[in-house]
């Protein structure tokens, strides 16, 4: 399985770091629809938050909140500025955080192992500090409950502090030993969160993008529709259907983008639209091909089998039978017809198979 699933970011990334509770925090910042971090989050009237694009697309399907099923309207969606800032902030910190917490947990592991295998002080122990801890544990074990935490604390702030020095980066005071061995590295690698908060969290930018309005296509001629698209610098080729769905998709992308505190350039949106359109085309081709190859032959097989079964049943009753071994097309069409549901207690929509039948009859 692991070989197949490529690396995508996912809350479970935090599951094995030293603070697994971050899994929950990570998943809270994600959209319930796309499972990505929320982009341009909007708040519904029932208080739930989704990516603007996702909820707008979903509301075309169903005008209900996916979480609580309360009726909601697209017009009532509100920007959720603070959440967007939190998400951007966390996204910026995520990799560093993950790296740091994973490294720390490795160190922790080593310490834990050291304190368990009390007697074995082997040559692999690299740092002096750890040797101290091991021997400390040994002593404390003899005394009674040592308390691991106190040991760890001891490691972080050794009893003999020594002279203090000032960190040239964050200007805080640390024992010189700590400063030289670990703090400066740490301080250099930390994003300048404490020093300059504004550099991570973008301020609300004042953009001039106006939301687009839905069009009443029935009252629009082809030419006016094309003019509208051209005004938005969108392609004007394709049939009426394509023009309409192109406008609708762009409407969603555009309006969702307006909800963001850091809106993308319209060029980016147009590229997304083009991607969407090409994926749509590919999907259609793929669908046709699948029907041709698989669906069709499966359908015939299914029809033959079920005919075979009914025939076996009917043979006993000496009912007139059809030559089921025949493979010519006319018989196949008969077989398929006979495999259709006739009086089903459950309403089954067999649109697909009737379609096939029709094609076949032609």
């Amino acid at each position: 399985m692991s070989s197949f699933v490529p690396t995508v970011s996912d809350p479970s990334d935090f599951a094995h770091c030293s603070e697994p509770r971050l899994v929950e925090f990570d998943s809270l910042l994600r959209c319930h629809i796309c499972k990505e971090y929320q982009t341009a989050p909007v708040l519904t009237t029932c208080g739930h938050s989704y990516c603007s694009v996702c909820i707008r697309k979903y509301l075309i399907h169903t005008a209900k909140c996916p979480i609580c099923s309360k009726e909601i309207r697209e017009a009532n969606l509100q920007r959720n500025v603070l959440l967007e800032q939190v998400v951007i902030c966390f996204k910026t910190l995520r990799d560093d955080l993950l790296e740091k917490l994973t490294v720390e947990s490795k160190v922790d592991d080593r310490q834990r192992r050291g304190s368990c295998e009390v007697i074995e002080i082997d040559d692999n122990v690299e740092v002096d500090d750890e040797l101290e801890i091991v021997s400390e544990t040994k002593k404390r074990r003899n005394v009674g409950q040592g308390g691991l935490e106190s040991l760890f604390k001891r490691k972080k702030t050794p009893p003999k502090v020594g002279p203090l020095g000032t960190c040239p980066i964050c200007a805080k005071q640390f024992p010189i030993r700590v400063l030289e061995s670990e703090h400066i590295d740490l301080c250099l690698n930390t994003p300048l969160l404490e020093q300059d908060k504004d550099s991570i969290v973008p301020k609300e930018s004042e953009h001039s993008y106006q939301k687009l309005t839905k069009l009443d296509f029935s009252s629009l001629s082809n030419t006016t529709l094309k003019q509208k698209l051209a005004k938005l610098e969108l392609p004007t080729n394709g049939n009426r259907n394509q023009l309409e769905s192109r406008y609708n998709e762009y409407l969603i992308l555009w309006n969702a983008n307006c909800d963001s505190i850091v809106p993308k350039d319209p060029k980016v949106l147009r590229r997304q639209l083009a991607q969407w359109e090409s994926s749509l085309k590919f999907r259609k081709d793929d669908h046709d091909r699948q029907l041709d190859k698989k669906g069709w032959s499966d359908l015939i097989k299914q029809a033959r089998n079920s005919k075979m079964k009914t025939r076996e049943e009917q043979d006993d009753a000496q009912v007139e039978s059809i030559d089921i071994m025949s493979t010519n097309e006319e018989d196949d069409s008969n077989l398929i017809t006979s495999a259709q549901p006739q009086n089903c207690s459950i309403q089954a929509s067999t649109q697909e198979s009737t379609d096939h039948e029709r094609v076949f009859a032609d």
Binding site: M1, F4, V5, V8, S12, C54, L299, S306, I346, S349
Partner: protein
């Protein structure tokens, strides 16, 4: 693309945090996946392994995946669990897979409810309309409009 990304994330989550009694099996098509379910806690299904097939469309997660029990003779999975809401052909009458689906649900939540669906069942029987449904059922369970009338199971 959106569907693909979401499926990948879900698979990754399932890979990292496995569910008890459930194993995911991938195919080379990301839109088709299998899971084996074993419910040892229920004497009805003890020592049995069942296989579920998920077929996901590009509209996912706006529409639910098509989900049904299948047999895998080569691997010795020869039966469809006997349950008042599971038909002989593997189709499942579960509102989560139809009207109750929302994008908040995931493959994981379907698997969990299938598992509890089996674990909590005490009736060793097929749905009352099984024989008539079996004969005329569409190939894709999503083409059936089930009526969800029984909330007890």
């Amino acid at each position: 693309m959106a569907a693909r990304n979401r499926i990948l994330k879900e698979l990754r989550g399932l890979e990292k945090e496995t569910l008890d009694g459930i194993n995911i099996e991938l195919t080379d098509n990301i839109y088709v996946l299998f899971a084996t379910i074993s419910v040892d806690g229920n004497p009805l299904y003890k020592d049995q392994v069942y296989k579920v097939k998920f077929t996901i469309t590009e509209e996912y997660p706006f529409t639910p995946p098509a989900c049904m029990f299948v047999k895998d003779i080569d691997r010795g999975i020869v039966s469809i669990p006997i349950h008042p809401h599971i038909y002989t052909n593997g189709h499942i009458c579960l509102d989560l897979l139809g009207t109750a689906w929302t994008p908040v649900h995931t493959i994981r939540s379907i698997l969990l409810s299938l598992h509890s669906f089996l674990a909590s069942n005490t009736r060793s029987e097929r749905p009352p309309d099984d024989s008539s449904y079996f004969k005329h059922a569409p190939k894709n369970p999503k083409d059936t409009r089930f009526v969800y009338h029984d909330d007890t199971v």
